[in-house]
Amino acid sequence: MHLGVSESMRECEYSQISTRSSTPMETPYKKRTPKRRKWESFPGRNKFYCNGRIMMAKQTGVFYLTLVLILVTCGLFFTFDCPFLAKQLTPIIPVIGGVLFLFVLGTLLRTSFSDPGVLPRASSDEAADLERQIDVANGSTGYRPPPRTKEVVINGQTVKLKYCFTCKIFRPPRASHCSLCDNCVERFDHHCPWVGNCVGRRNYRFFYMFILSLSFLTIFIFSFVITHIILLSHRRGFLEALKDTPASVLEVVVCFFSIWSIVGLSGFHTYLISSNQTTNEDIKGSWSSKRGKDNYNPYSHGNIFTNCCAALCGPLPPSLIDRRGFIQSDMPQLAPPTNGISMYGATQSQQSHMAAATPLLQQQSSEPVILMASPENGGALPGRTSLILGGPCTSLPLGLPTPPTSTPSLSCHEATDMLPMHGHSHTHNHSHPLQDPVAHHHFLTPEEVPSPPGMLPCGSPMGHSHTMQAGFYNPASQDSLHEDSVRGLVKLSSV
């Protein structure tokens, strides 16, 4: 099966290469082999754009709705209300509106497009090692044992770490597996369809700033549109005023419904941030005192100020999945040789590296919190829940504490222009392939290293050139440093 998979993978790779790369596949023995980026073989259900710079969930329809709402409402505001207000009151109004609008859009895109903190799946060796340890602990049985958990004491509280059958790891505390994206996400907050992405460790602050700024924006637009109508109706009467500015009516309606949901959501998340909880934990009541007298949140820093600062201004970890790195099939595997071909699976290297791409813009959601029990792909792990903030078409929460935003309302989203993508300078740096001479290929000759039977050869067979970028930190250089070390140990053969 594995060789069959490898063949089909190779074929996929070949066909991709033929359209993208100029390197013809008739010369498979050349050092210059076609390079595939890791995002192309990413195991989760994510969509990637701009050659791996942008990462979103699979369903993005609601995100476009959000964008349209923001753009349309703001567009109407700037076109129909601002000229009047600038003349009658002060020209600062459009300026502030513009700044708010840009900020909202920036944070929205940042939340939507960045990696929320996806944990890469375990390499096959790691998974095998874990399995072995679990078998030793359980006593091997012929069928799958019950869900595996590990207990750990964090700051005096006992926390259960669950084993993820899809990702084959024990999830770190506060991580959760998103069934929609099919990824484990660190400090998983919820999956937001309005943002088109999960909200996790790496984009939570952008999400929060988005809903906060959107609250201000909707209140701003709402109040000034009302002002506009009132000022007009002083002159001409109320109905005449409405006829003059029909757009304002639409804006008022959109903003009115949005304010309830978005302001409420901002308040809820402000509470979460100040107590250092995730939406997931709050919904489940993990740290609620109702569970027990001694139940407290072990992650809280003690006071509100520190919690807020840590959540919003703390260090931003880099992405662990290195979407724009090149796949390298150079990791030696622990398996007996099945044939003479040195075929090295790239699943390890797939999950390696942090991306040098800086997080992009972000977005918000404003819908009731829904708790759904979703079975995992790889196995029956009962009780796994994924948290989804649903739109108007989703059902109401199951009696769990929710923010006062339970009216499914359309959020008032305005947007005019997109902020440029950030962080490209980072990602560009490791996209310069350097074709290394033969000696730099760090894979072993067939007789030295057994080829793994079960590897998915995401990388191309035989040699892989990798990017070597000296002096600039990027995942590729990580690999090259590692590679240099391996070279020191292992004979490099020329192909």
Partner: protein, 158 residues
Amino acid sequence: MATEFHNLQELRHSASLANKVFIQRDYSEGTTCRFQTKFPSELESRIERTLFEDTVKTLNNYYAEAEKIGGQSYLEGCLACTTAYLIFLCMETRYEKVLKKIAKYIQEQNEKIFAPRGLLVTDPIERGMRVIEISIYEDRGSSGSSSGSSSVSGSTAR
């Protein structure tokens, strides 16, 4: 059975991957990045306990430095926010700087300490910060070791 690799030249001609040891994360202090300093039994014949523990402890310190919440990180965060994160086009985050230091440290350790003992430490960032992977290389000329055979049975359990 202890294989002695006196220099990299010997390794070059005779090393083959025998086993991999995974040092798991230590979550007892929360979600910050720490690795367990427990000495794995497979390395007992390979490297001194103190050397191993020093390496892991230094790595833990580096990660703690990267994730430290203090004046500098707040400053960086606020500055980034006010510039709409455009500042990161020109500047590296502190975390990334520390990760570079870690990569350099691991390479040094590999060259000086681990490679002469037939071991190779993989940077945790390449494994999604889940584990420190230590590869154990065997002299091909030596007879099969117990660690070699156990690795085979382990990996075929997939």
